[in-house]
């Protein structure tokens, strides 16, 4: 059974998908992550994460339009599901709680 535990990279991919909102697909997510994090990312790693997230039910996908740049090939758009949003909120809440627990330097 697949747990809902999110790995670090999965979290990043999920966030990138959420940022791109209606324009999230493999290439754009890869670009987004590269820009946000300032390091190069393999397309394979991104797709693997997308696939896992979809299996966990945090993302859903549909096939959509093509552009000339893609050689006429369709895009697979990803959107964050309710469960995905909840998972992100959950992580953020945990992080916030942990941040606030750090004792303030005097």
């Amino acid at each position: 059974m697949k747990g809902t535990y999110l790995g670090e990279f999965e979290e990043v991919v999920l966030l990138a998908t959420a940022i791109l909102a209606s324009d999230a697909y493999g290439a754009s997510i890869t670009n987004e992550i590269e820009q946000q994090m300032g390091r190069s990312v393999n397309l394979g790693a991104v797709h693997a994460a997308l696939h896992r997230l979809e299996e966990k039910g945090l993302l859903s996908s549909r096939l959509g339009g093509a552009t000339a740049e893609r050689g006429g090939r369709s895009k697979r758009f990803f959107t964050v599901t309710m469960a995905g949003t909840k998972a992100l909120d959950n992580i953020r809440e945990i992080r916030n709680r942990m941040w606030s627990a750090i004792p303030k330097p005097a």
Partner: protein, 874 residues
């Protein structure tokens, strides 16, 4: 305008190869989009690098796996359905044990026969093929034309090889090979090596004979160098190393050194020997002049041509070559000569020249045809039995169709069944072949294969063939069965269509025609061999033992000693005995026109006792006699064929005519009646007898009185031991020796007999299956007939009549065919038996009887059944 920069093609191809089809489209889209962006931002180099990296990074489990379809299409191969096919097939096999047994056994018998024949044919066709340079190796043969006709030799004289290589750069190498009989000794171990090969050192350059020890370049260079085959080395030295050891060669016991150990040459090689002795031993010691004697024909010369040499072009230069080197000699002898190049691979099967071993392409054709026939019969059986049983399966077909089976699905089911059958047939035939292979080797007189373990490729081919047979013979029944209309079938209205019955009958007729033709063939081969064995040869061959003593006084001494042995009637010396090789001499004889006619004639050098002891009938003049001292140098006895050659009307006219042959001149003193000194395949050729010289190496024929042969032979051996203490005693019986010429024909007969028996066996199994099926079909009819008063005999007759008609028709087809083929075969014999009518009658009767016996097995049982049983079923 620049073409847009493209990503590496191979990476894209890789993606398409590994990626699941439902993903590849958008993944490639992403890749292309990123590539285009990166070309702009990072440049084409970096973009390509990243593209490749991305593609490789996409090789992940989820991209490899195809997505299951929502509504799956029925797959072409469905394991559940296939399993069901085989389950049903297996149940059917078990349910109809007799049918299945007949089917599988017939098929495997056919496959086994075919497999064994294929091994044999392959063996024969690949003679000498182990030589990698075989396509460049040629045997130098010669035709010698004189006024007496053309003599075809496979040998030449010693100077040819070196002179040819010297004159023609096209010739890369030559090697001369002659087979001799040498005595070899090692301490007390002595062997008369009949397979001693004298060979030039270049033999290892020309032929692919593998030296396990020793240097191929020098092993046979020096005189008295010996290369032993592995098995010969074992024979002389056992487990001890043989290299460098000494063997004593010949009667004088010259010391020879072992300079190499050779892997035993392949069985299907013409160059067979146990001991290889350097040719220089012969040319520098035993016969020092032979390298310059152009007229001394006695060695086989093989030439290795340079790659790309046209043998025809080379042959065109031979006449000039002959003129240069042999012109005067040829003119002196008044003969002309042609040199020919025979390709190595063609010699064994095609060359008609004298050879130690020769195959026959005709026999290969015959066996191939027989193999195909037997396989055909087996396949026909299969088709017949399967189709005949279709009625029983009709209901099954109906039900399957009613619940939605398509025609193609049903066809596949039946093909699966026939595949199962042919696979079982394959397994059985592998077992049978493995069991029969030693027998088959013995039957064919050759080690065709040491075992199936050595033949994985052939077994693989057999497996493929069995699958093909299963498919091919399964298609017709499958189409017939799957074409039934469910409504009719389920109503029980289906009757066998007339077409199908015709086809089955036709197939049975073909089967029987083939079997009958094979029976006739076997009988004719047998009667020809019987004819040859019992034919009066014109000389006494019984109770005669032949031994090979030395020459000169020792021979005469042995002869005198043997004459006094108890049980020996007489002893005669000669250079040759009937059935063996003899020399030929260039001779001049006075013919009817008074001219000295030149001819190359067969020669027997004999002593005074030969003609009387062999019971040769002197029809004119007298045999050699010790009363005439001139006989030893000035007399010649000829046979009737010579008289005819010279043009005389009666033998008496030839008496006193002049002759000149091999340094002797004199007159013909006697004429003997023709006798078959060669096999009955040839007509009696002109033959001359001359007195034996003391130095001739020759044979002693010892006539026994027939009482206690064993004791007499022991006494002879004792005498031999006193005369030749160093040499092993060996002997052979003349009648066996003579009949050995027919060994190849006897093998042919035995093989033919076995395959004919197999063919009739398989045909009968087919008939049995068909008859039992037909009887079951007519159970009710038989019941009704019996109720109305038919006798058992009349019912058996009724059931048998149909099938006997087919056998009759088969005979009509087979008889002329068999006559034609066997007539051709008999053409190769000079003395042949006529094709008797009784052979055909016997074959017809035999096949009819066998067929009747097969059918009655079923029909009598059916006729005896109580009609109450057969009629009660509804």
């Amino acid at each position: 305008m620049n073409t847009p920069i493209q990503p590496p093609r191979w990476a894209t191809r890789l993606l398409h190869w590994f990626c699941a089809s439902h993903l590849v489209n958008d993944l490639e889209g992403d890749l292309l989009e990123l590539f285009a962006q990166r070309v702009r931002t990072h440049g084409p180099r970096e973009a390509r690098r990243r593209y490749v990296r991305d593609v490789i990074s996409l090789i992940r489990p989820f991209t490899l796996k195809e997505k299951p379809e929502k509504y799956p299409q029925p797959a072409f191969i469905q394991s559940a359905m296939i399993r069901n096919f085989f389950k049903i097939a297996f149940r059917n096999l078990v349910k109809h044990k007799l049918f299945s047994f007949i089917n599988v056994l017939g098929l495997s018998a056919g496959m086994t026969a075919c497999f064994l024949i294929a091994l044999y044919v392959h063996f024969e066709l690949t003679y000498d093929a182990f030589n990698k340079k075989a396509d460049r190796i040629y045997r130098l043969s010669s035709d010698i034309q004189s006024s007496a006709g053309t003599l075809q030799y496979s040998i030449t004289s010693w100077p040819f090889g070196p002179a040819l290589q010297n004159d023609f750069p096209e010739i890369e190498a030559f090697t001369r090979v002659s087979k001799e009989n040498y005595l070899f000794r090692k301490g007390d171990v002595k062997f008369n090596e009949e397979n001693t090969v004298l060979a030039d050192s270049s033999i290892f350059q020309v032929f692919d004979l593998k030296l396990l020890q020793g240097n191929p370049k020098t092993a046979l260079k020096a005189p008295f160098s010996v290369v032993l085959t592995e098995s010969a080395a074992k024979k002389y030295f056992g487990a001890h190393p043989a290299m460098g050891q000494t063997l004593l060669v010949g009667d004088n016991g010259d010391a020879a050194q072992v300079t190499g150990i050779m892997q035993d040459p392949p069985v299907n090689s013409q160059l067979r020997g146990d001991v290889f002795l350097s040719m220089t031993t012969h040319t520098r010691h035993y016969n020092t002049a032979v390298n310059d004697e152009w007229g001394n024909f006695g060695t086989t010369t093989y030439l290795l041509l340079q790659p790309g040499t046209d043998p025809a072009a080379l042959s065109r230069k031979f006449p000039a070559f002959l003129h240069n080197h042999m012109g005067r000699l040829l003119q002196q002898e008044n003969i002309s000569m042609t040199l020919l190049l025979e390709p190595l691979r063609d010699i064994y099967l095609y060359s008609k020249r004298e050879a130690e071993q020769s195959g026959s392409i005709e026999n290969i054709y015959i066996f191939t045809i027989v193999a195909i026939f037997i396989l055909l019969i087996a396949c026909i059986n299969f088709i017949n039995l399967t189709t005949a049983r279709s009625l029983e399966r009709a209901r099954e077909v109906g039900v399957r169709k009613a619940v939605g089976a398509g025609r193609w699905l049903l066809a596949r089911q039946f093909i699966a069944e026939s595949l199962l059958m042919s696979f079982l047939g394959f397994l059985l035939s592998v077992i049978l072949s493995a069991a029969l292979l030693p027998l088959f080797n013995e039957l064919s007189g050759k080690t065709i294969s040491r075992g199936l373990g050595q033949e994985p490729l052939s077994v693989g081919i057999l497996f493929l063939a069995s699958i093909f047979i299963g498919l091919a013979s399964g298609i017709y029944p499958a189409l017939v069965l799957s074409s039934f209309e469910p409504v009719k079938v389920l109503k029980g209205k289906l009757a066998m269509t007339g077409n199908g019955a015709m086809l089955r009958k036709g197939l049975v007729t073909i089967q029987f025609a083939i079997s009958i033709a094979l029976i006739i063939g076997t009988m004719i081969v047998y009667s020809q061999l019987d004819f040859m064995r019992s034919h009066a040869l014109g000389f006494a061959k019984d109770q005669t033992v032949v031994i090979k003593p030395g020459t000169g006084n020792s021979r005469n001494a042995l002869k005198t000693m043997l004459q006094n042995v108890n049980g020996v009637k007489s002893v005669a010396g000669s250079s040759a005995v009937p059935g063996g090789p003899n020399s030929q001499a260039h001779s001049k004889l006075e013919n009817a026109r008074g001219e000295m006619q030149i001819a190359t004639l067969d020669v027997y050098r004999v002593d005074f006792d030969f003609i009387p002891q062999y019971g040769l009938k002197v029809v004119a003049g007298r045999p050699f006699s010790s009363e005439f001292t001139s006989d030893s140098t000035k007399a010649l006895v000829v046979n009737e064929a010579t008289v005819k050659l010279l043009g005389y009307h009666s033998p008496r006219e030839a008496i006193g005519k002049k002759f000149s042959q091999w340094d002797r001149e004199g007159t013909i003193v006697g004429v003997v009646k023709d006798f078959n000194f060669k096999s009955l395949k040839e007509n009696v050729k002109p033959l001359t007898f001359r007195m034996l010289d003391p130095w001739n190496s020759d044979l002693l024929s010892v006539k026994l009185d027939g009482h206690n042969v064993k004791a007499t032979l022991e006494a002879i051996e004792t005498q031999w031991k006193t005369q030749y203490p160093d040499r092993p005693f060996s002997y052979y019986f003349l009648d066996e020796f003579y009949d050995r010429q027919y060994r190849a024909d006897e093998r042919f007969e035995a093989l033919f007999l076995n395959f004919a028996a197999l063919a009739i066996f398989i045909s009968c199994m087919g008939l049995l299956g068909l008859a039992s099926y037909a009887t079951v079909q007519r159970t009710k009819e038989i019941g009704v007939r019996k109720v109305l008063g038919a006798s058992v005999a009349s019912i058996v007759g009724l059931l048998s009549k149909d099938f006997l008609q087919l056998v009759g028709l088969a005979f009509v087809i087979a008889a002329p065919l068999a006559w034609f083929v066997m007539h051709r075969w008999l053409e190769s014999f000079a003395y042949k038996t006529p094709i008797h009518l009784w052979i055909f009658l016997a074959a017809a009767l035999l096949s009819a009887l066998v067929a009747l016996a097969t059918i009655s097995f079923q029909s009598i049982r059916a006729a005896l059944v109580n009609p109450v049983k057969s009629l009660r079923s509804e």
